[in-house]
């Protein structure tokens, strides 16, 4: 009987499993993590370093009407800007009509031979590696390009590590903080990367709202000076004037002991010379000299 029950139970489990395995959803799963980060969050750690991959033509995707892409261009020293990679982001339209960029993702083109050579030259000369982005992602380049640059010697580690913080305001890019993800100590040493590929970290940053000015109601009375007046509890006389009273007390005590000593002395001298003479004693002493 027990065996039967066990077999039945096992069978039910298998059936259940089989049923769940049999269902195949035809929904297109949007792999959220593929887009990297929620860009609007400000203090999130970095995106996964994206390996250099060829640019995917996302614009052809019928579902990506809210997706936009804009290109990153780079220049070596004084050279002309050339395409270096593509940023893909999702354009979220709010009910008020405001648009914000989220889910930024970056794919960098791999460096060509010529570019590698140019980069090496930059490293030799401690020159600038420059990048630029459009200031408006909807109709690039907008009013002007956002340019940023870094001393090329800051980038090489194992590969070439770079770090983007893109400051956005709606569909506009204001500024980009570009540079090495870590420190770049001065003087910069010449170091060639072992791997000629970029490791990119990207962050999308939006503005912070200022904290509201605190408004206090009357529970705290504000004095004429604007300082908080917690009505001070009336202090005892002693608590207020102890610093005057203690020295005063000391002086009085001192005087008292002196006074105590004096009569003793006087009493002593009285025994020998008589009362009045003690007071006048110094005067005849002077005369004597």
């Amino acid at each position: 009987m027990e065996k039967l029950m066990l077999i039945l139970g096992l069978a039910m489990v298998f059936v259940g499993l089989g049923l769940s395995m049999a269902f195949h959803s035809d929904e297109l799963l949007v792999e959220d993590e593929e887009f990297g980060l929620e860009g609007s969050a400000t203090d999130v750690p970095y995106a996964r370093p994206s390996q250099p991959t060829p640019t995917r033509k996302r614009s052809s995707d019928p579902d990506s009407d809210s997706k936009i892409q804009f290109s990153l261009e780079h220049a070596f020293g004084e050279s002309e800007f050339s395409p270096a990679g593509t940023f893909t982001a999702r354009l979220k339209t709010w009910s008020q009509g405001a648009q914000t960029l989220t889910k930024l993702r970056f794919s960098r083109n791999s460096l060509t031979e010529a570019e590698m050579e140019q980069f090496q030259k930059l490293l030799q000369g401690d020159d600038f590696y420059r990048i630029r982005l459009p200031s408006n992602v909807l109709n690039p380049p907008g009013r002007d390009y956002i340019v940023s640059s870094v001393k090329a010697r800051c980038l090489p580690r194992d590969g070439l590590d770079e770090h983007f913080v893109i400051h956005t305001e709606g569909v506009n890019i204001l500024a980009v903080n570009y540079g090495a993800p870590g420190a770049c100590p001065y003087p910069r040493q010449l170091k060639l990367p072992s791997k000629w590929a970029f490791n990119s970290y990207t962050i999308l940053k939006n503005t912070e709202q200022a904290p509201r000015t605190p408004v206090f109601t009357e529970e705290i009375t504000v004095g004429e000076n604007g300082e908080i007046q917690v009505p001070p509890p009336e202090k005892s006389f002693w608590a207020k004037y102890w610093m005057y009273l203690i020295p005063l007390g000391l002086i009085v005590m001192n005087a008292m002991t002196q006074a105590m000593n004096m009569p003793e002395e006087q009493a002593a001298s009285q025994g020998q010379q008589g009362g009045a003479a003690a007071q006048r004693a110094p005067v005849p002493a002077v005369r004597r000299r």
Binding site: G142, V147, S148, S149, A175, P185, Y186, A281
Partner: protein, 1020 residues
């Protein structure tokens, strides 16, 4: 800090106390609750004295003027009206280009009263009316005011709303009355308005703009109520309206045409002739409208004055039946005969100045003409009706540094021999005002100082062996007498006479006005550049002018039509050769107001006030960057950036070039395109490649850019840390021995942007439309370190950057109040380096160069507070070593300077600070910042028209020098944490001496006593 402990009870009990001790509230607040243990008591009292020291900056009544000075000015005079007849006090009413209306004492040049109008309220005209009012028209005919003549009280004010901008005239008719009420006529905004002189009520108004008439002149027909309004419709039609002055009805209207077309330069000659130029400026048109009949004549100017070239101008002078025409560096005085013929009476050099005609006895007119002859100035008063007669001919010697005569106003008086005498008020090129009478300068006012553009300071010469101090100091007896007097004052034994003597002695203490460097660094020279392109050196001790220089290379010349001064920089500051070399300053100017005009550089010796060298016109100058390098002669290297962002190196020597090239890879700069909303960063690329370039020119390379979205943000304010600021502590010790490293960098830029609507005046935007965004940007890499939005807030923004914090002031539309916010930034990348001990013993690795290219980890703390005042300027105190706590100096809307402790603007203030925080000095949180009446640096004074406040560190760490300028100048010394490192100036040395003497005497006496006693003991 022993001094406050000693001086506190004394000063509290003995002084006349006009200012209460400001810190008393604070002491109460900071004191512990009664249950606190006795062990804490000591620390509380330490705190008590600390808070006194930090917040008590108040001043006693008898200390006013001891270390501060205040100078009152009015600015460059543009109109002057004399009031000398039938009045006890002879005065002259003036209005100036700094929008000041003032009444001056004609005997001494002192100010009886003055009223400073707003910055946009420029005066169009002033008139005396009915012997008791001064009527002023200002704001291009927008505001009419009447001021009481004796004391300057405003009697009434009328706002005149015109329909469109036009010329503005003020007319006070002599006998135009409606029901015993005199009328004042004002024209402005295309409307002619009659206003009652009693209460300023508008009686009638006639709009001419509706008839598209461009009114040129408004005149009263002599001896009648008819007002003539003359103007043009289009360029060729001349219109004349006759208006009944009593009710504004048009009596007669006539038009006529002149095919040549009129220019807008017109002039009324003798009440019935209008003189105008044609469109080309080559033909003189006279329009005779006597009796309402219009007759137009024309005459080529070349027929009158012969050959000329360039612009012709009719000078706006009233010369009776004459007028003045300026052409080709000459002024032609042309008289109009009764038949309407034109005759040239005289041609004078254009450097001359001519006054309006002054009627004196029986319809006779006097006209003054001033021109330069060699080093002297010739003042000639001529009879207007008969130009060949000279009423007066005097030669006056005027200081060459005052430049040319710009304007002259004359006034007549009856001499002792009953003949007519004339005095002239002369406005010079440096904006100074002189009264000339009997060939002598009666008084002078240095009103150029009302328009200070920039200020720098230099040290005074070092005391040399030859210069003896005792010369300035009195003899020993005087010194002793002075101290005995002071002692009497301290011991309250002084009679009122003594008190006066003490006060006088303090005020003119020779110590502070000496011409040598002092140990504390209080005595310096303020080098001040004014709008008149004149450089002044003021002594910080008493504000007197040591020298002044009208900069020769910045004067008008053929190469440079309208030179303007821009900034002044310290150029050479000798330290190694301080004994035998003078410091010098660099004055940067421009040929025109526009940014791309060629620049002018002038190098001036700061001790002698002579121009050492000048160059210019050179390349245009957009910004001047003093570099942190000096050459072997201690000249500072400067990089001048032109509009193409090319850098030009000065001084132009091989040595400087060598130093620069060595450092050029680490030189970065930026430009802010305010209109565009773009900030760009640059570095040096290499030598210039364009033609006519030299070795000292460098091409820029674009490094970074920040582009603000044009539709939502507009740059309204910027602030950078001061280059000469010294930061003493790099870290801040928090509660629980926690350490925060300040992020200190000179390469930071604070930018505030506002939505376009919110960047104008308050009221132009609703809270929903307004937003204010603040940025902290690194100017080497262009990284945005911090960005924060204030919703519902708007311009104007005033900001100050110091150490690792920035404080800014703006308007909150939601709260309907001004706010001040603080942002403090800390470096998180060094946060693990928290070993305080290491920091103290100096093991800490702080000397490693930091690179802007390292990724910063910045933590920002921010907090906002309400602030009652609107602000004109905001700055922060600077001290020599940066140890002393900081105070914000706020130029308030009331033209005063308010000191506000930085501790009030601490983002760490919380509602209930912990005990440890309290001990550290964190003030409990309040929603608004306190305005403590005692902390006004300007005490009872006003720095009228305040524009800026600058601070200069003194050598004494506790003290900073504060100079505020506007129309007035104000200087004072400020010790934000009290003078903890020195005794006060009025410290009674005599009392100290007396105490010592008394003590010594007591010792001697007691010694004798004890000896005697001992002797007695032994004799016993």
């Amino acid at each position: 800090m022993p001094t406050p402990i000693i001086s506190l009870p004394l000063s509290l009990s003995l002084r006349t106390q006009i200012r209460q001790f400001s810190a008393s509230q604070e002491i109460e607040g900071a004191r512990s609750p009664p249950q606190a243990m006795a062990a804490r008591v000591l620390s509380f009292y330490l705190l008590l004295f600390l808070s006194i020291a930090q917040l008590g900056v108040s001043l006693y009544e008898d200390q006013v003027g001891l270390m501060d000075w205040h100078q009152r000015y009015i600015g460059k005079v543009k109109h002057a009206v004399f009031h000398t007849q039938r009045s006890g006090r002879k005065r002259v009413m003036v209005s100036t280009e700094q929008n000041v209306i003032a009444s001056l004492d004609l005997r001494h040049g002192d100010i009886f009263w003055r009223r400073v109008l707003g910055a946009n309220d420029s005066v169009d005209g002033i008139e005396l009316a009915f012997g008791k009012y001064v009527i002023s028209l200002s704001s291009a005919g927008g505001t009419l005011r009447a001021w009481n003549l004796p004391d300057g009280q405003m009697v009434w004010e009328t706002s005149l709303q015109g329909s469109k901008p036009s010329k503005a005239f003020l007319l006070v008719p002599t006998n135009l009355k409606v029901d015993k009420d005199n009328l004042v006529l004002a024209f402005g905004g295309g409307c002619l308005v009659a206003v009652s002189s009693i209460d300023g009520e508008m009686l009638w108004k006639k709009d001419f703009a509706a008839e598209s008439l461009e009114v040129q002149q408004v005149v009263q027909s002599p001896g009648s109520d008819v007002i003539y309004v003359l103007g043009f419709v289009g360029s060729t039609q001349f219109d004349i309206y006759q208006i009944n002055g009593k009710n504004g009805e048009v009596i007669h209207h006539e038009t006529s045409n002149y095919a040549g077309g009129f220019s807008r330069n017109t002039l009324i000659v003798s009440d019935d002739v209008l003189v105008a130029l044609d469109v080309t400026g080559s033909i003189l048109i006279t329009v005779n409208f006597q009796g309402g009949k219009v007759r137009i004549d024309d005459k080529p100017i070349s027929d009158l004055v012969g050959y000329y070239s360039g612009q012709v101008e009719l000078l706006a002078l009233r010369l009776g039946r004459m007028f003045a025409l300026k052409a080709h560096q000459h002024i032609a005085l042309i008289s109009v005969t009764n038949e309407g013929k034109l005759e040239v009476a005289e041609k004078v050099n254009s450097a001359a100045a001519i006054s309006d005609a002054l009627p004196f006895s029986e319809g006779q007119l006097a006209v003054a003409r001033v021109h330069h002859e060699d080093n002297k100035v010739q003042l000639t008063v001529k009879l207007g009706n008969d130009w060949s007669t000279n009423l007066l001919d005097e030669t006056v010697k005027i200081d060459g540094q005052r430049g040319l005569v710009q304007k002259v106003f004359i006034n007549n008086y009856i001499r002792t021999d009953r003949s007519h005498g004339f005095r002239a008020l002369v406005v010079m090129e440096d904006h100074s005002l002189l009264l000339v009478q009997q060939g002598e300068i009666v008084w002078t006012r240095e009103d150029g100082l009302a328009s200070v553009l920039d200020v720098t300071t230099t040290e005074l010469p070092v005391e040399k062996d030859g210069v003896s101090v005792s010369k300035v100091e009195q003899n020993l007896f005087d010194w002793l007498k002075g101290h005995v007097l002071k002692l009497k004052g301290t011991l309250m034994l002084a009679t009122p006479d003594d008190m006066v003597a003490i006060q006088a002695m303090r005020l003119k203490s020779s110590e502070k006005s000496k011409m040598t460097r002092d140990h504390n660094g209080f005595r310096k020279l303020l080098i001040v550049l004014t709008q008149a392109r004149k450089l002044y050196a003021l002594h910080t001790g008493d504000g007197r002018i040591i020298w002044s220089l009208l900069i020769g290379s910045l004067r008008k010349s053929d190469a440079c039509g309208h030179p303007v001064g821009l900034r002044v920089y310290p150029w050479q500051v000798p330290h190694h050769h301080a004994m035998d070399e003078n410091p010098s300053v660099l004055v940067v100017g421009r040929c025109q107001l526009s940014q791309d005009a060629p620049g002018i550089l002038s190098f001036v010796d700061a001790y002698t006030g002579s121009e050492i060298e000048s160059s210019g016109p050179v390349h245009d100058v957009l910004q001047v960057i003093p570099l942190p390098f000096t050459d072997s002669t201690e000249q500072r290297l400067h990089l001048l950036i032109d509009t193409k962002q090319r850098g030009h190196l000065y001084p132009r020597s091989r040595e400087a070039l060598g130093i620069f090239q060595q450092k050029s890879s680490n030189i970065y700069w930026y430009s802010i395109e305010t209109g565009n909303g773009i900030i760009r960063g640059y570095a040096i690329k290499g030598s210039c490649i364009h033609e006519d370039s030299d070795d000292f020119c460098f091409e820029p390379r674009d490094l970074w850019s920040v582009v603000f979205p044009g539709e939502s943000e507009k740059i309204i304010s910027m602030a950078t840390p001061k280059l000469n600021e010294v930061v003493h502590t790099q870290a801040k010790v928090m509660v629980e021995q926690d350490l925060m490293y300040k992020y200190i960098s000179k390469n930071l830029l604070f930018v505030a942007t506002a939505s376009p609507k919110a960047s104008h005046g308050i009221g132009s935007a609703t809270p929903e439309e307004a937003s204010l965004v603040v940025y902290l940007i690194d100017t080497v890499t262009g990284r945005v370190f911090y960005r924060m939005t204030h919703q519902g807030c708007q311009a104007p923004v005033h900001a100050v950057f110091s150490e690792n914090w920035v404080i800014y002031h703006y308007f909150n539309l939601r709260a309907h109040r001004y706010e001040m916010s603080v942002i403090e930034i800390y470096d998180q990348s060094r946060a693990d380096n928290k070993d305080v001990l290491k920091l103290v013993v100096g093991k800490h690795n702080l000397t490693v160069p930091t690179s802007s290219y390292s990724r910063p980890e910045i933590v920002a703390k921010s907090q906002s507070y309400f602030f009652t005042h609107s602000v004109k300027a905001i700055t922060v105190t600077l001290t020599a070593k940066g140890i002393t706590s900081k105070q914000m100096l706020i130029g308030t809307i009331g033209d005063q300077v308010l000191a506000l402790d930085k501790r009030y603007l601490d983002p760490r203030r919380s509602l209930n600070p912990s005990q440890a925080e309290k001990e550290e000095g964190v003030i409990p949180l309040t929603d608004s910042l306190p305005v403590i009446p005692q902390s006004y640096l300007t005490h009872a004074l006003k720095v009228e028209g305040l524009r800026d406040v600058i601070t200069v560190p003194a050598k004494l760490e506790s003290t900073t020098l504060v100079f505020a300028y506007g129309v007035d100048l104000f200087f004072t010394r400020l010790a934000p944490s009290r003078t903890y490192d020195s005794l006060t100036e009025d410290f009674s040395y005599a009392l100290l001496l007396l105490t010592i003497v008394a003590l010594v005497a007591a010792i001697v006496v007691t010694w004798i006593w004890s000896e005697r006693k001992e002797l007695q003991e032994k004799w016993r």
